[in-house]
Symmetry: C2
Subunit: 503 residues, 2 copies
């Protein structure tokens, strides 16, 4: 029964219903919750809060801070109930996306995931009224044993006035020991983060919590609402093949060790295809220092190719979650779940020399990357951890299909309609067409490398034409040749005609 | 005489003329030189090389890597002689600027200053054929005692096939001991950088060098060709007043200690005005963890307000240099010169929690910053260290006059014509008009804060009109409202009419 999961017996009297706990949440409060991708986020209390507000028509707006994206029981339910005023630092929910792109809807802040926790502690968002954190157990001293993600839970528990624990019995007790919780001191007393190897543990297996702070314990068995595996399509496989081929050449050139350097890769089909490609490659003794641990990472662990798998959340498919639950003791030897402030920490990413592999929405001919906005105005998800890793990587790689919307959009454009990663941070672009190595190249040299190696043939002549006319028009005034009248015209043409092509 | 400056007597036989040393430099070579701002850069050898090529008409193109900007005897002379093919990572020379904006001229790479040294060691630019480094002395073991900057000299000496030392007798021997040379190991063997206080020393007072590597010692007395002090005008003073007022409020709100946190600020009139403002303020026990140490920093040291002054180069005016030379023993108690890989290191900047203060060319209504390109195409100087500090700061501040070109240009624009710092990195904008605090605000909230607090009254109505029409046009599709047809129209109008104003 769940009682054994609460080892501090005094806390048994905090057990209450989700409705009772939700009643503590008032208008205007800052709420920090566990959750990173739809793993380890609270379910029962947000559902109860949304239900209450929808039924009573009560006027209630909260500011919701999370680790990153969460499940529908939190982002979806609260967005549908219209109770979210501010939302940060990242999300991938259809309802929340609709709400935050609505000027009268949610005010959303897209943040580097390693910035949010320290800025919470610096007081940049005001006090955190409640931390709502999923746990699989509570220790004798009242500390919280997390579940399938860590995200920003440790900082929220540390600074929140009160804590609501969702004790989730669908999360197996064997998860205990997989976590490594470490919160840096803040300036001027911060110390070096003592990680020099991807697999190093530096913290505690639980989130420290003063039992008096626990205002409620809500027992639930609602499982992580995980997402189906992104399909492995030919384009993703071609990108993976190009990317792995590039890494092999770097090894042959002596610029990378035989077993590479710690790898970081995001969610999505390309990330899965790359890890699947590594499974078939002859690379061994690989290390993973990333954010999200997907099914493909479990495959590499099972095959003995991943020596270490460090992240801040498990992001499995339904089958992946079953497979993980059935084998936790084994996976615990390889998998470490860290707070996102540590999994995404610039100090550690630069020290370990990670190879970053993330997906772009669009890339421009000079190597700037847009990870977040469609047509420069509509937010898709957010920058996530792509900036934390890209800026500090030994080698930073972005992948994108050369076209979108079945060929009507070129992902290689004259000028990005929104920029998340600048020319200073982007080393390599990979599409299904080929690889552009931007290192040791000026903007004018990059333009030809990107257009000729990565752009889709349908759009290559238009890109070359833009570049050459810009060069000619600007004469001796152009480190970065652009025709400002035309730079965003491709996007405007798509908005007006449904295609970037000139019919 | 200069001989006592060469304590390894075997090296005396390496002394040769600048012409003889320059003769070693061949077509296609990668040359890494000392120098950061016009301080501590080689003079005699580059002048000899330029002279030879201009006289013989010899076909010679080299790739020039430095710490950052250098003096005219290097960037200016080589650009005038047309001998530079690739140039990185930063420059401020009129001739070099002309050459790199010319499509048939120099191929320039604008890099984060903390990225260049490690990427040199990673082999991303090929081998370094010669390091040319200014020294004030050479130790018994053949190690190099640097002069008024450190920049990338340690890495260039470490990786170069051969080293040419310019022993500069205009640089006083008392400089010895001011430097703290530390080169991190590279992945996978890198350790934490053991700096937890701005004033901590972790390295050696000299650049380690195997004497056999020294191919030539050229003796010269050409002084650092320093630049006059940027004038303190009313706009800079108003910006400084607004900025310091903002810092005071952060202290009162308890978000900053009484003596702030280590400060970083760039070159230029605003930086000088801010430090001058701090001199008059009641802030004490201040620490400086920056790149360039200007006259205004010397004033704060003299006044006992700067406890520590860490950077990678002295950047004094002519009077400032005289004053420094006359008082080195005293200044050595406070000033530390580090390699730029350490002065600009993300790990250290984030750990110390620096307050970054840099100047923007333009800022858009959503808080993106352009530090480098005029009208999106013409390179001014480069990003320098502004990215290293801004991304990792406890608090990141950008200053800019609200207008340029005597009021015809608004520095607050609908969309930046080039982006160096994204919304995720920029916390505060300061103009002579006021302060925009972008923390805890969505893009739509930032737009009103920036337009109303920072834009010049001449342009405020136009900016509000753009924002409101974008909001209306895009309806429920706009986390970041833009009208792509108009976003860069202000720049186009200036190009066509000489003004951003609608006449
Ligand atoms: C960029 C990102 C949205 C791509 O997601 P993905 O699932 O791999 O790629 P998809 O091809 O499915 O594209 C996602 C959506 O963007 C659209 N899209 C992709 N490229 C586009 C382009 N060039 N122009 C317009 N729309 C585009 C797709 O049509 C799709 O829209 P839909 O969902 O409405 O059909 C995603 O990787 C992301 O959010 N990245 C930022 C966060 C990050 O990198 N985190 C670090 C590690 S987790
Ligand atoms: C941004 C930067 C160029 C401003 O320099 P500054 O001397 O403080 O400012 P100025 O007002 O003198 O502007 C410099 C030039 O840019 C032009 N300029 C400034 N704002 C402009 C704008 N909004 N649009 C067009 N031109 C503009 C000025 O007219 C001037 O041009 P000129 O030299 O041809 O007359 C300079 O700070 C820089 O290079 N920064 C990037 C590097 C950095 O931040 N390093 C970190 C610390 S050193």
């Amino acid at each position: 029964m769940y009682q054994e999961r609460i080892r501090n017996k005094k806390l048994l009297d905090k057990i209450m219903s989700a409705e009772q706990a939700a009643a503590m949440i008032k208008d205007g409060m800052n709420i920090g919750t566990s959750g990173f991708t739809p793993s380890g986020y609270p379910k029962a209390v947000p559902l109860a809060l949304a239900k209450r507000v929808q039924e009573t028509g009560e006027k209630l707006k909260i500011n919701l801070l999370t680790g990153a994206s969460v499940g529908d029981e939190l982002d979806g339910a609260l967005a549908r109930a219209g109770v979210v005023h501010k939302r940060l630092p990242y999300q991938t929910s259809n309802e929340m996306r609709k709400a935050l792109n609505d000027p009268n809807g949610v005010q959303y802040q897209d943040q580097h995931l390693s910035h949010t926790p320290q800025q919470v502690r610096y007081g940049y968002f005001g006090d955190i009224d409640f931390a709502i954190v999923e746990a699989c157990a509570i220790t004798e001293d009242g500390h919280i044993v997390p579940t399938t993600s860590l995200g920003n839970s440790p900082t929220f528990v540390k600074v929140a006035k009160k804590v609501i624990v969702e004790l989730n019995t669908s999360q197996p007790l064997e998860l205990e020991g997989m976590h490594d919780v470490y919160i840096p001191h803040d300036p001027p007393n911060r110390e070096p983060i003592p990680i020099t190897k991807a697999g190093q543990r530096i913290g505690t297996p639980y989130i420290e919590c003063n039992p008096e702070k626990i205002a409620a314990i809500v027992v639930t068995d609602i499982p992580d609402n995980v997402r189906p595996l992104a399909p492995l399509d030919d384009e993703s496989r071609a990108m993976a093949k190009n990317l792995i081929g590039f890494l092999k050449k770097e090894v042959e050139a002596g610029r990378l060790p035989q077993n590479l350097l710690p790898l970081q890769s995001g969610v999505g089909s390309v990330a899965n295809a790359v890890l699947a490609g590594l499974l078939e490659s002859d690379f061994t003794d690989l290390e993973f220092y990333s954010e999200v641990i997907q099914d493909s990472a479990l495959d590499l662990i099972d095959a003995g190719k991943f020596k270490v798998c460090s992240g801040t959340s498990l992001t499995p498919s339904a089958e992946g979650l079953k497979r993980f639950y059935a084998n936790i003791e084994n996976y615990k030897k390889t998998i470490i779940l860290r707070p996102q402030e540590i999994s995404n920490n610039p100090e550690v990413a630069r020290r370990l020399g990670v190879i970053s592999m993330n997906t772009a929405i669009e890339v421009d001919i000079y190597g700037h990357v847009n990870s977040t906005h469609i047509m420069g105005t509509r937010m898709m998800n957010g920058i996530g951890g792509s900036g934390d890793f890209t800026r500090n990587a030994y080698l930073s790689i972005f992948t994108t299909a050369s076209t979108a919307k079945n060929g009507e959009i070129s992902s290689i454009v004259p000028m990005c309609s929104h920029i998340d990663h600048t020319e200073h941070d982007v080393n390599v672009i990979v599409t299904e067409i080929g690889v552009a190595d931007l290192r040791n190249k000026s903007p004018r040299e990059r333009a030809l490398e990107i257009i000729n190696n990565c752009a889709h043939p349908d759009f290559r002549p238009m890109l070359l034409d833009y570049y050459e006319r810009a060069l000619k028009t600007l004469g001796k005034q152009a480190h970065t040749p652009h025709l400002l009248k035309e730079a965003l015209s491709w996007h405007q043409r798509f908005i007006e005609t449904g295609s970037m092509k000139i019919k």
